[in-house]
């Protein structure tokens, strides 16, 4: 049960991070943050709910459940941020290159 749950969570994170439209990817990113924040808050406010959920899933303690979800989500969030930065770099480079060509042409006139 534990393995299935974690595999399912990894699959959802993977799909939300890589295989969706840009709008869905952004929403997926926010959903993951929300899930982590909600579960972390619940763990503090009402640890019994998280503990019962963890027991049901065969994970053990509630803190372990929150930690696993945090770890998995973090990897995908970092990957998403890195991919976004590469795409931004691509756009920036295109602008810089065109500017360089324009300046060169102006200098030759």
């Amino acid at each position: 049960m534990k393995i299935l749950f974690l595999l399912g969570f990894v699959t959802i994170c993977f799909l939300l991070t890589f295989y969706s439209s840009d709008a869905r990817k952004n929403a997926g990113f926010k959903i993951m943050l929300l899930v982590i924040a909600s579960m972390s808050s619940l763990l503090i406010i009402s640890p019994n709910i998280i503990n019962e959920t963890a027991n049901f899933l065969g994970i053990g303690r509630g803190a372990d459940l929150v930690f696993y979800l945090f770890m998995i989500s973090s990897v995908f969030i970092i990957a998403r941020i890195y991919l976004n930065s590469k795409r931004l770099e691509e756009k920036l480079s295109k602008i810089a290159r065109e500017l360089s060509i324009i300046k060169s042409r102006n200098n030759r006139k």
């Binding site: 991919l83 770099e89 810089a96 290159r97 065109e98 060509i101 300046k103 060169s104």
Partner: protein
């Protein structure tokens, strides 16, 4: 043979000691040369200005891939440009090979000719560590692109206008070499390899890529693959 229909693209990064002689040798056979000064901190710019090459200054150092794309974009604006050669600034390449490759491209009606230092058996001048790294890179690239090549990281290439319009180099750094090959495969461009001689001297050896850069290249290729698959 007139080469007015050909542009030579030379990316430059801190090559003040050799760039003038490289460009002078090129200009004997090729009148159209565009030099992209990629944020050099030495006096490469001044040395380039002493020649007739067109100079484009990048406003910050972006990498060889970005420099090549800038050069291609510039040369494409010349409606008479039919052929485009990428040529290293450090004096590793021979002008004779560029001339022979152009002839070979025209005879074989290929879209792109890639220089290879491994076609002819005499590879003793290649430093051993570099030879091993290149073999690894070649093996990895052949897996990811499906292209059967002997040398996947040679900066000497010649291609036609159709290829110049087709290929878009997005990877700014040294991973661009593998990216070009990927695009050859996916755009179904016809390609061939041609034996070239690389001149290894103390200067050119010192300019070679570090071993760790192979890690960067492989990682960039993975990211590019993910980016391409998920767009």
């Amino acid at each position: 043979m007139s080469n007015n229909d050909t542009w030579v693209i030379v990316p430059v990064y801190n090559e003040e000691s050799v760039i003038k002689s490289t460009l002078s040798n090129l200009s004997v056979s090729f009148p159209n040369i565009v030099c992209i000064n990629d944020g050099s901190s030495d006096s490469s710019e001044n040395e380039i200005k002493k020649t007739n090459a067109v100079l484009i200054n990048h406003i910050y150092n972006m990498g060889q891939g970005a420099s090549l794309q800038t050069g291609i974009d510039y040369a494409l604006a010349d409606k008479g440009a039919k052929y485009f050669i990428t040529f290293d600034a450090d004096g590793q390449h021979r002008v004779k090979d560029a001339i022979d490759m152009k002839e070979y491209l025209k005879e074989n009606k290929a879209d792109i000719i890639l220089g290879s230092r491994f076609i002819e058996k005499n590879t003793n001048n290649i430093p051993k560590k570099k030879r091993v790294l290149l073999k690894i890179a070649t093996y990895f690239t052949s897996i990811t692109t499906g292209l059967k090549l002997t040398d996947t990281h040679n900066g000497l290439r010649i291609f036609n206008r159709k290829t110049a319009n087709t290929i878009v180099i997005r990877m700014n750094g040294m991973s661009h070499a593998s990216e070009i090959l990927s695009q050859i495969k996916y755009s179904k461009l016809t390609y061939k390899e041609f034996p070239v001689k690389i001149i290894y001297n103390d200067y050119s050896k010192s300019k070679g890529q570090s071993t760790l850069n192979l890690v960067n290249i492989l990682f960039d290729l993975l990211i590019n693959f993910i980016n391409r698959s998920t767009k």
